[in-house]
Amino acid sequence: VTSSPGVPIVRALTFTNSTTALVASGSTGSESLSSINITTGASTSLGAFNPASVFSAAIAASPGGPVYVLDSLGDEYTIADNGNLTLVGSTGNHFYLDMTIASAASVPEPSTFILAGMAGAFGLGGTWFPRRRSS
């Protein structure tokens, strides 16, 4: 799939399942959300961005969670399947161009080391100071 009839300039896309891509398309003040069936190429308009002042080239569906939007002012939103946006907060003054959810293999995992260290400490403690068995 390289394009879809009826969809204006594609700004960003994300897969919500193996056959459906959500697409943010349009220009400042007139951006909208569509879904594209990548098997058939059919697109469905889901709704205009609300508020319309939000311009985004970065959307990403989280695994089993909401679809996130980063806009041209650095604000983060979640977007409903009708185009309604809910502000999460400001990440700073960044004009975002795209985003992608980090895959498991790429996420720096400080918590992994902390948990592993704790588990190791408990485990090694048990190994070096095993419970004594009376005979």
Partner: protein, 147 residues
Amino acid sequence: VQEVTGSNRMKHAIRVVAALVTAALMTTLVPGRANAGSVVAFATAVGGDLYSVDLATATATLIGNTGVNLMEGLAMSPSGMLFGTNDGGTLFSISTTTGVATSIGSTTLGDVEGQSFKVARSSARTSLAARRPFIPSTPAPPPPHPL
């Protein structure tokens, strides 16, 4: 009489390994989740900066500059490789630790503003699809903003 047997030591060693593996899997097997409650994304901005963004808290952390002013399409493979496309349609690989982008080649598609990996459910299609970024072309006219 107090006694510590070799078999006990072996059991404890096994517990240690099991605990380590469990702890690691708990935090690494869920895509995009570094720990409970957080969802992490990579994002690029005008000027070429690459950020990691904690989407649960709307906190962005600068990783580095890609060296590409308009890196407009980002996609991450299931194995953790980050790819980007710029306004000229060139495909890059991007280091998630330094942000530095390395050109792979031209897609010949022009301004590519979005891409994503499509991962099929069946194992046979997963490996094939996962190696092919989904790249929609964008038609003229050029956008009315810096993108």
